[in-house]
Symmetry: C2
């Protein structure tokens, strides 16, 4: 199954000036698409931090999505950081310069900076997108502004469609400490199913939510039945 | 200035079953306390992933806070992962066993598992806390359940109090591409101030928010004046 990692780049997130909306958005979308998310990192606008984390995620996951740091200002270092991750140079792309010219943007140093891409990277055009989406090997470089992030991701999302994950949930009014050993036995009987245990507080009728997940719907059903026979089940409407 | 990193541990976050509340909470609290957050990582319930990320963050930041994976079930691996990060063994702590006994918890294998802590770690008691907070070197091991996470963090928060950061914001109706070069010059004139540029969409009266931040209030004021003399300012009420 395909795996993914997210690298959110921006001091504004780490300092709490803006809440990250793109990570949570991508968590939901990747789940729907059937892609297994294995890592999220939020890092500052620093070249070495970007290069190091992008390199790590690129080796760890099939697809990497970066968010932020692609604007024209001095603190926008993502494209340069991704180039450094793979030890390649930046080059001016004529197709980007031509786009800026067509938008009547002055071709000054700022525009030239925005027209740079790592050598060997791909510029993927998308319907309704003013600029193409940059792909460097398995890394997709997306903008931080949520509306643009979503538009660019959705323009390439179909490429990542995998096999969906099935989930069943069991609620119990037993304590997690009381069911831990029984649940470990259930998990051992169903190694093909991911069984999670999540204590909750303040929800009236139950104490723990147990989730069974797999791409094999029948395996989920078998494991959930086993869980239901093992703990005291509470019906939640 | 003191720095911090956050390691959020849990498949339930990466699969979108639950939204992470603890990261955002800590982002705000660390900012208020004057601690510079340098990294957030969200990783799965896997021993090697936990050990590797905790080791990395422990070397990178003064304080590390982990969230999640400390319950009694088979998927709770954080304490073992932190021990592995520092290559130390786990040991049963009599004080934890005694606490469980005092709560009438049966001292079975589950309880014994919950009474384990890495060798050389500290158990920090807190008012109103049923269990002490585990500290392993510069790593604070906090539970994933948001109410408990907050209670445990607040029981030790005063230890991290530093010098607060001052922020000033300037709004402009100029485009980010138009101001990028002027802003780079401003940033170069005020190296002691962190100057950020954030394009917004859909907010009626301005196009970019420029932030000036530093622990030196006068330096912030100087930089913000410089920004205001450099871009076309919009008053936002």
């Amino acid at each position: 199954m395909a795996t993914a990692a997210i690298v959110v780049i921006g001091n504004e997130i780490l300092t709490g000036k803006f809440a990250d909306e793109n990570g949570p958005y991508l968590v939901r979308r990747l789940r729907t698409l059937g892609v297994d998310l294995v890592r999220i990192a939020v890092i500052p606008d620093e070249l070495d931090a970007i290069a190091e984390e992008v390199r790590r995620c690129s080796g760890l996951a099939d697809h990497v999505f970066t968010s932020g740091g692609v604007g024209p200002t001095h603190d926008d270092l993502t494209v340069e950081g991704v180039a450094r991750a793979f030890d390649v140079e930046l080059e001016v792309r004529d197709e980007l310069l031509a786009l800026m010219d067509s938008y009547d943007l002055t071709l000054d140093d700022t525009a030239r900076r925005m027209a740079m891409a790592p050598q060997g990277s791909e510029l993927v055009p998308g319907q309704h997108l003013p600029f193409p989406t940059l792909r460097v090997r398995n890394v997709w470089v997306l903008p931080g502004v949520p509306r643009l992030f979503r538009a660019k991701f959705e323009s390439v999302a179909a490429r990542f469609a995998g096999v969906r994950v099935f989930t069943d949930r069991v609620h119990t009014d037993e304590r997690e400490t009381a069911i831990a050993e029984r649940l470990a036995d259930v998990a051992a009987r169903h190694p093909e199913v991911d069984i999670g245990s999540y204590p909750r507080w303040g929800e009236a009728s139950y104490r723990v939510i147990i989730t069974c997940e797999s791409r094999d719907a029948e395996a989920v059903a078998r494991a959930a039945t086993d869980v239901r026979n093992t703990v005291h089940v509470v019906q939640v409407t």
